[in-house]
């Protein structure tokens, strides 16, 4: 129906629209309570910025439009638009609130909305990361009021630290870090560096033998005419990396198991702390990340969010569109499988570094979906 909108029937006109507007006003007041300033990023965002950041996959998720000036995308969320706005005109530290529609492409037959509202809150500030993480979740929870949700948390900083703690080459760690957000490739790499190490070398026996004998260039020449922008030097450089990889000790079973165990930790946030401490034993870098996790739990408690009541999942936040690299959270509707997470958020320090060409600012925040929130609070569909 033309008057329907995401998760709400008839809410583009009359009384239902009035109720939604009141809900949005209530959410925005709660998000603004700590003195955040209002921002209104552009709907049209440069496609190349989003493509460079998220890769080609974003084309399947965001609407693309073009004119003589170039290719643009309808914002699929607010994170990148707000970071761009902040980098252009913001002063630090900053707290922002915003509300507006976002657009997502959907497959034929999907019942997910192509247009829905997001209301959000973001903090750009160096300093006490644990306190800011807690503030972000507390502010978002404040906007949800008494809606029946359960909060799930995760920490991609722990995953990145567990990779860093592996007793292996820098090249492997970099490759694993690059694919934290792509579980299929991540696990393929883990296999190749571990159990599959000998098989991977056997499959490249000819190339590795040529490299060992100093005949790589000859083998490249046998391969065919050097066409294209990627030249023989680049091929030779990667052959050298393949040889170095083949000579690197395979990842031990224990190392792989521990990484998988960090990703597999599940339970209350306090129970998870005990598990993580045990997994980090003897690994100072991972233990430092667990320290940060523990400080966050204290900061959450200081904000009145009881860690015992929070759920922790080691893999939470790995498959979202966002570029989260630290604390992540979601508020899932209780008893309403038809609704999406009512709120989501997390820390994205690395994203600000990428968009700022190295000049980053620690950032954490989250969004509420006001339409889903109203559908949850009012019951029915």
């Amino acid at each position: 129906m033309v008057s329907d909108r995401a998760y709400l029937k008839g809410a583009r006109i009359g009384a239902p629209l009035g109720r939604l507007e009141a809900e949005v006003a209530r959410v925005m007041a709660a998000l603004s309570a700590t003195g955040a300033i209002r921002v209104e990023p552009e709907v049209l965002q440069p496609a190349d910025v989003l493509l460079d950041l998220y890769g080609e996959d974003i084309r399947a998720r965001a609407f693309t439009v073009r004119d003589e000036m170039g290719e643009m995308m309808l914002r699929p969320d607010f994170t990148v638009p707000i970071v761009r706005l902040h980098m252009d005109a913001g002063a630090e530290p900053a707290r922002y609130v915003y509300c507006g529609p976002v657009w997502r492409r959907q497959d034929a037959g999907s019942d997910r909305p192509r247009e829905y509202l997001q209301a959000g809150f973001e903090i750009f500030e160096a300093g006490d990361a644990a306190a800011q993480d807690a503030e972000a979740l507390a502010v978002i929870c404040g906007a949800l009021g008494d809606a029946p949700v359960r909060i799930v948390t995760g920490d991609l900083g722990l995953v990145l630290a567990a990779i860093d703690a592996l007793a292996t080459s820098a090249a492997r760690k970099a490759a694993l870090r690059r694919h934290v957000w792509r579980p299929a490739r991540f696990h393929a790499l883990l296999h190749r560096y571990g159990e599959g190490h000998a098989a991977a070398a056997a499959a490249r026996a000819e190339v590795l033998a040529a490299e060992a004998a100093g005949r790589t260039r000859a083998l490249i020449a046998v391969g065919g005419v050097a066409v294209g922008l990627r030249d023989a030097d680049e091929v030779a450089a990667r052959v050298a990396r393949l040889a170095a990889e083949a000579e690197t000790e395979p990842l031990g079973r224990d190392d792989v198991d521990r990484l998988e165990a960090v990703l597999g930790v599940e339970g209350s946030a306090t129970a998870a702390l005990a598990d993580l401490r045990r997994l980090a034993r003897g690994l100072p870098r991972l233990d430092a990340a667990v320290d940060r996790y523990a400080r966050r739990l204290e900061a959450l408690a200081a904000r009145g969010i009881e860690p015992e009541a929070l759920r922790f999942e080691g893999s939470f936040g790995r498959t979202t569109l966002e570029y989260y690299d630290g604390f992540v959270f979601g508020a899932l509707p209780v008893g309403r499988d038809d609704l999406p997470p009512i709120a989501t958020g997390g820390r994205y320090d690395a994203l600000t570094r990428v968009l700022g060409q190295g000049q980053g600012i620690p950032a954490v925040g989250g969004i509420v979906r006001p339409e889903a929130l109203m559908a949850l609070r009012e019951g029915g569909c």
Partner: protein
């Protein structure tokens, strides 16, 4: 009437006419060569519609055709969730083509999709842009690359002579239909070990969303009987 869509020219049309003919259904153009109407002899209640092969997926989707002959590659590329919209009545054994990922043969470091991903990461660091893959099958290629968890690549559109894209410096790799390997070899390209995206052949499709009134159902039953075809699987 049951509307049957068939390619309007070329090898695909000849093979289609032969395939139906071998099963006792004679397809023929009516009027001159420019007349895109035809007749069907051997089964009652079937109307022949001649269309370019590329138009047939859209006509099946809209339900203007009940049945249509086209390549599986075109159906999968153009119709998301195609299983809900069309059913494969019969693979026809011709028009075979594989959609593959190919890279320059001298890339001795790149044998599989995992290698391509690693090469793309290094390529981007060196050249400042993502590794370009030329194709016209954007949807199929993107979902294949996503399934393999490939990063740091971009698709560039190529509607023809895709094999030449690498030589012309408009792409570093290609994803294209290949019926023989010789065009690839001529362009100094090689298929990745796990680079087969799709095996395709000409197929008789049924449009689930067409107007299946009693007359169309009856014509379908007669045609299916004649062609010796089983019931299509339910949508799922």
């Amino acid at each position: 009437m049951l509307k049957l869509g068939v390619p309007s020219k070329g090898r695909l049309q000849e093979e289609t006419i032969r395939w139906f003919g071998a099963r006792g259904v004679r397809l023929a153009r009516t009027g001159g060569d420019r007349e895109y109407r035809g007749s069907v002899a051997g089964v009652a209640g079937v109307e022949l519609v001649l269309l370019s092969a590329g138009e047939i997926p859209g006509e099946l989707l809209s339900g203007r055709l009940h049945l249509g002959v086209t390549g599986q590659d075109l159906i999968r590329e153009r119709l998301p969730r195609w299983q809900d919209r069309v059913a494969e009545l019969a693979p026809m054994g011709f028009g075979r083509a594989d959609l593959i990922v190919a890279v320059p043969g001298f890339w001795i470091d790149v044998r599989d999709m995992g290698d391509l991903d690693a090469a793309a990461g290094a390529f981007r660091a060196r050249h400042g842009h993502r590794l370009r893959v030329a194709t016209k099958y954007h949807h199929l290629v993107r979902s294949f690359f996503e399934r393999h968890g490939i990063a740091d690549y971009q698709l560039v559109d190529s509607q023809g002579a895709t094999e030449g894209a690498v030589k012309n410096l408009t792409a570093e790799a290609i994803a294209d239909i290949t019926s023989t390997g010789s065009t690839l070899r001529d362009n100094h390209l090689r298929v990745l070990d796990d680079g087969l995206i799709l095996r395709s052949e000409a197929t008789l499709f049924l449009a689930r969303g067409a107007a299946w009134d009693a007359a169309a159902e009856a014509a379908l039953a007669a045609l299916r009987d004649r062609l010796g075809l089983a019931e299509p699987a339910a949508a799922g």
